[in-house]
Symmetry: C2
Subunit: 125 residues, 2 copies
DNA sequence: CAGGATCCTATCCGATACTG
DNA sequence: CAGTATCGGATAGGATCCTG
């Protein structure tokens, strides 16, 4: 049934086709804006981190959700994963070029949000 | 157990306190990046829309989720709501100043995502 | 038209236990 | 250390019906 892009009229405003359920972009957006994906991307923005570092820097995330989220982000090409075959193993995650490009507007988003909040909650920066 | 901000060291990098579960900013972020909140904000970015226009522009959203999402965004001060007491009633939604500030990085985010996707899925723009 | 109320299902996600 | 597997409760969210 659904297959093409449905833009009602030719002269329709440049409304985003991303809105369609079967759109690939929408999946990526959903992953980026997923409950934990957001924080993973933000955490990795400045530097690469190991699994346990990520877990500790993102409050409230469980190991399950962290690995699950990471797996998706790696699949989407936003995050790279490097395994050091030592004992015990060391796995490091970092942002790809794509991930960094995404992280920038994300940071902008959060900065603007925090700036609009009551003073008592504002970060010290 | 957890109550304050845990920044391991004094000279720690400016890691976001937003990561804490009890942070107000986190709630707003969760709303903005919620499954449907994203699309509502993007939809309203260029101009205000009525309820049914929103429902039609965001594919796959149910009336329930749309009204629920809108309610939260209005509470957060991102969206305004205007009721025209006619019969049948007309309710219009639009972005507040805050909402517009948030919408900008959001659009940037989606533009970058769509630009990185395979050509066959790319919007025509 | 713009929703609220209800019901019901899918999934999210945390806790726990186990593996290389 | 860095996960995977499984279970079960909580929540998101769709469908339907109803109202001002």
């Amino acid at each position: 049934m659904d297959e093409g892009v449905q833009v009602t009229a030719a002269e329709a405003p440049p409304r985003y086709e991303v809105f369609h359920t079967d759109c690939l972009a929408r999946n990526v957006v959903d992953h980026v804006t997923s409950r934990w994906g957001v924080w993973v991307l933000i955490s990795l923005r400045t530097n690469a981190l190991r699994f346990y570092e990520l877990r500790e820097s993102i409050h409230g995330i469980s190991e399950k959700m962290l690995s699950q989220t990471l797996r998706v982000l790696v699949q989407d090409g936003l995050v790279w994963r490097e395994v050091e075959p030592t004992v015990p193993p060391q796995v490091t995650y970092g942002l790809t070029e794509f991930g960094r490009e995404i992280g920038e507007p994300l940071r902008e988003l959060f900065d603007r949000i925090t700036q609009h909040l009551p003073a008592e909650f504002k970060p010290t920066r």
